[in-house]
């Protein structure tokens, strides 16, 4: 079995209201010096068998269309040990 994590983040120029709300809260709760918070999503995907190149390519395809919205988000894929 292989495990991949797809990280999805808003593009840097896109407003992140969620991150902003967290930034405010962290400040109010006394964490000093927070200059920015960005909130993102992760998808931890377990697939049976090996993650060969073909499937990795397919995963990239899906990460860029289904899992992220290319208009406002960027994604990256990392393999982790399950």
């Amino acid at each position: 079995m292989a495990r991949v994590v797809v990280d999805v983040l808003l593009k840097p120029e896109i407003l992140d209201p969620q991150g902003k709300a967290v930034e405010g809260a962290l400040g109010r709760l006394g964490l000093a010096g927070v200059s920015s918070v960005r909130q993102g999503k992760t998808f931890t995907i377990d697939v049976d068998g090996d993650l060969d190149d073909a499937r990795l390519a397919q995963l990239h395809e899906l990460a860029g269309s289904l899992l992220s919205n290319p208009v406002i988000e960027d994604y990256s894929i990392r393999e982790v040990t399950a």
């Binding site: 209201p17 969620q18 902003k20 709300a21 967290v22 405010g24 809260a25 109010r28 709760l29 909130q39």
Partner: protein, 227 residues
């Protein structure tokens, strides 16, 4: 006719149903007192409603940021001292985040926000907010939430059921995937109640599907008088 009882309604940034909750308190015969999130003072009220809405946009988790508001410090103390507190929807989420009630509320299982007239069965009338109902009474009040699925581990659920602390259950359909169809619960003492549907939207025949919601607000006034 007013009961002379003063019920506070907290406004957090992003609270939406605060006016409605205040109206419901007035229609039930109480005096509604506006409480401000940044003011760490309950101003001597006899009970508190944490209204629905999207406090802080619900951006982190519903109720997660509101739980740390200054007003919550005296409120949490007062809750432990027996002050009647009703958390509706977002208010329920705040109560869970504050650990005044067990469990948590998660994204609806169908992933959509849902607004519908929801049938409920009242399961307990031994709380400050449900004493005017009959056990087994069926009521219809609006439900509207995106993250209303009640979850807790089995042990907690068994304990809630065993102690009679499930106060209302969804009938006909489970609108959000709540475990064991739970729509509302209470703490051990019965003064703190969390409810996902919105009784404050069912207090006038003109604007609500029924006036079934009024019972929650008259209950607290009655229980305060009989205290």
């Amino acid at each position: 006719m007013t009961s002379g009882m003063r019920i506070g309604v907290v406004t957090f940034p992003g609270s939406l149903d605060d006016r409605d909750a205040a109206r419901a308190v007035r229609i039930a015969g109480g005096e509604a007192v506006a409480l401000w999130h940044a003011d760490a003072d309950l101003h001597g009220v006899d009970g508190v409603v944490l209204p629905g809405g999207f406090s802080y946009g619900d951006y982190l988790r519903c109720g997660a940021i509101a739980r740390f508001a200054p007003v919550m410090t005296p409120l949490i103390d007062a809750a432990k001292g027996g002050l009647p507190i009703l958390g509706i929807c977002n208010g329920f989420q705040v109560l869970c985040e504050s650990h005044l009630l067990p469990g948590a509320l998660v994204r609806n299982d169908h992933l959509h926000f849902i607004c519908r007239d929801q049938k409920l069965r009242i399961e307990s009338n031994s709380t400050a907010w449900t004493s005017d109902f009959e056990v087994g009474q069926e009521i219809v009040i609006p439900l509207k939430n995106g993250e209303g699925g009640y979850v807790a581990d089995d042990k907690t659920l068994d304990q809630l059921e065993g102690d009679g602390r499930v106060i209302a259950r969804y009938l006909d359909i489970n609108p959000n995937g709540s475990r064991r169809d739970i729509a509302g619960i209470t703490n051990e003492r019965g003064n703190v109640v969390g409810l996902m549907p919105h009784p404050e939207h069912a207090v006038e025949a003109l604007t609500g599907p029924t006036t079934d919601g009024l019972g929650f607000f008259t209950s607290v006034l009655t229980s305060l008088v009989n205290r």
